[in-house]
Subunit: 458 residues, 2 copies
């Protein structure tokens, strides 16, 4: 029979088991952080009606959407009715609008699922990737204090992920727009366009952005461009410094003053949430490209790896679901693109190799000892210790090699001699040593060893 | 602006948060069971190359596949290159063949992901649903002992799910085929067709199946049909009874004897794994429709809800990935269709309402007390207690109502009076009582309460 070459589509990250375990531990840590901060789980279908996903009618988004058709629909060759979600925000908007009467507001949800984008195949670009999102959605209104809680969640999650020092950068769209307004850029559309150029500062550099702003498209004077560049250079080094730098901006339009007041309150409250001052800072270059942010905006970067870019971004929006409901639903949220982050950490050599989820291999050489092996495994499993049994048997050396290769720490050997002494041998493959323990003490002993390991790890 | 009606495609199960929490707890329990039994996590992309998914070339499967196309591909209107997986077995075969050199065999993987089928919209039929699969894949060979470990995992998982008494039914394809052979049905294809009719016994009844077997399509004599029906009626009530009933079948062909020996060994070893005799039994009507099973087959039913049908099925197969590799990869595995199971349990009123993942609501009425509230929440969260803060403020009654509606058990009230006494009030919304505790004792007290709750639950 002709073989089909086993392969996956470009732009997906498929992991070997030990990588998958490392990935799963990150997912678990993020979920634990989200839950401890009082967010509720939501999952939505990967397939949505195309008209739900594409209410904005085209553009970049539509070009990247994957449409879904069953064989029957394909044969009728009409316009596809269904498509795969390209983010978790549009499905959230649809979910909240659809279930509005059944939800309690403020509605705090977390969602950790894969999303799909028909990107061109390119290194580091993913067509399928995990997003880990939280949002707080209010009905009619939502206190700005929620904007300050978000960095507390980010802090808890990235501390738990243990991938090095990081900084949560804050800015405010009203402050930016008000600042542009004060420079004579009064049109809202034009403000957004300037804001998008500022958003390119890190990627394209100051010279490029200044050039665009003073070029044909914008036609700003060199002086105005310089003022924008100086504004975008503002960073704070402490909470007091942030307040001082906000004050030093001078007075401005109503929008500007509203943005400054919001930002000052958010920064103050972030500190009250217990986030260390070393972890968050003002950064007036943070803009976020998306139109729908209206107030606070966030980015998070790894201090030692600025090249990785923002690993967690988001902001405040005025109205989540205007396309689906007349209710006004303001909210604030962030998203972690975990697949890309994992890939980048791996590329940068920052991922620690994960041990196996399997903690013990019960070896087995002689069918006569099989019942004893099964009894040992049962006790370990009943005690919650993840246990594999070498049911195939064979040479002990081969079984130990298998355990070592698989990242299993302990191998239990219960041969005729050991069992005659009512004992078992335990090989610690990580430490490379071995000890004998009374058969009746095995579970207790391994429990203690594994608990110590957990303590050492954290 | 014209609103788009928020809605989901028929055939998906979208849950409200408290239902999602119940669902997530089931997923977690299954995953814990799989991991304790030494299975490793694998995730594969939802989108696969269509030629990978459809190697068998058409039939029922192809009609149900969802094809995936980006806008660009749609415009070129060629044959779709990509499709969504319809199960986790084909992606497993592709995964093992693709990563063969990087995997250690026997390869024990679990996979819990959604799959997609273009079913006609119908109550209780899902187009997107979770499958929770385990498989053990050997290279060249795989001990039959693994067939006996599978029921041990099923037992652990369904005991943990706590959805009532269940029975794991076992049969063996070789025994069935050998039995048919002994009745003169020697053609392999014909044996499969008879086997599929036997598989319909529960759904269609004995009269129907007997009618088909003696009808035009099969043309079996009444006597042969009766012997098949009597064979399929065999059930055991204990391990000894299973052995007795296997022995009572009389002697048969080589295939028959091989099947009987396998089944006897599997049953004996299942007991050695510690699975209570009340939980597993011989059932010679279990056939499983799929062609690719070659030995042991399993089904699992809820004793008090036979109408729900099998909630966990699978079996042994000779060669997992013949379409993708020349290596022979025999294996054994099972699948739990969790979305359907959850839906059926809900329909049958068997689902307990889940509490919120949020354990404590810190109420807040007066902005002057906000820092105190944030400090309380921080301590609770640092102690791993899932905590929400009523940042919006407002009337206490409204905040308590919110907590109650959301299924949050404890509300902490730290008003001016309480704080002056260095105390906080705790309302237990489940018990409907209230107590005051010293501010410094709050975390410890709630930790104890929540630990007791966990103990009571299990």
């Amino acid at each position: 029979m002709a073989l089909t070459t086993p392969r996956t589509m470009p732009g997906v990250l498929e992991l070997l088991p030990r990588e998958q375990i490392a990935f799963q531990r990150m997912l678990d840590a993020i979920r634990r952080g989200f839950e401890v901060y009082g967010f509720l789980p939501v999952e939505t279908p990967a397939i949505e009606f195309a008209d739900i996903l594409l209410t904005k009618g085209g553009g970049e988004t539509e070009r990247q959407v994957y449409f879904v058709q069953s064989t029957g629909a394909l044969e009728q060759s009409g316009k596809p009715e269904h498509a795969l979600r390209f983010d978790l925000t549009v499905p959230l908007a649809r979910y909240v609008a659809e279930h509005e009467r059944d939800l309690a507001f403020p509605f705090r949800r977390y969602q950790m699922q894969r999303v799909y984008r028909g990107e061109r195949a390119q290194r580091g670009r993913f067509r399928e990737f995990y997003q880990c999102d939280i949002d707080v959605i209010g009905k009619d209104g939502l206190s700005i204090r929620y904007d300050a809680e978000i960095p507390a969640v980010i802090h808890a999650v990235f501390r738990a992920l243990d991938i090095g020092a990081f900084t949560i950068w804050l800015n405010n769209r009203k402050l930016m727009r008000g600042f542009f307004e004060g420079l004579g850029i009064e049109d809202g559309e034009q403000q957004m366009l300037v804001l998008r150029e500022v958003d390119k500062l890190v990627k394209r550099g100051a010279d490029y952005v200044r050039g665009v702003l003073t070029g044909e498209a914008f036609g700003l004077s060199g002086e105005v461009a310089d003022r924008i560049m100086r504004f975008a250079e503002v960073r704070s080094t402490s909470l007091a410094d942030a307040h001082a730098k906000l004050a030093a901006l001078g007075s401005g339009t109503q929008t500007f003053e509203q943005g400054r007041a919001e930002l000052a309150e958010v920064l103050e409250t972030v500190a009250a949430f217990g986030v260390p001052e070393s972890v968050f800072a003002l950064n007036l270059s943070i803009a976020r490209g998306l139109d729908y942010y209206t107030g606070t905006v966030y980015e998070t970067t790894l201090n030692d790896h600025p090249g990785i870019g923002s690993i967690c971004s988001g902001g405040r929006y005025d109205n989540l679901a205007a396309n689906y409901t007349k209710s006004r639903l303001p909210g604030v949220g962030i998203s972690i693109g975990l697949t890309r982050l994992f890939w980048q950490l791996r590329e940068a050599g920052l991922l620690k190799a994960a041990d196996s989820t399997v903690q013990v291999l019960v070896t087995q050489m002689d069918p006569a000892q099989l019942p004893a092996c099964l009894a040992i495994a049962r006790e370990l499993r009943d005690a919650g210790i993840a246990t594999e049994i070498a049911l195939e048997g064979g040479k002990l050396g081969k079984q130990l090699k298998y355990a070592d290769r698989a990242g299993i720490r302990f191998a239990v050997v219960a041969g005729e001699q050991e069992l005659a002494r009512e004992a078992v041998a335990v090989k610690d493959l990580r430490r490379g040593d071995q000890f004998e323990v009374a058969r009746a003490e095995l579970v207790k002993t391994l429990r203690v060893e594994l608990a110590q390991e957990r303590v050492t790890r954290t």
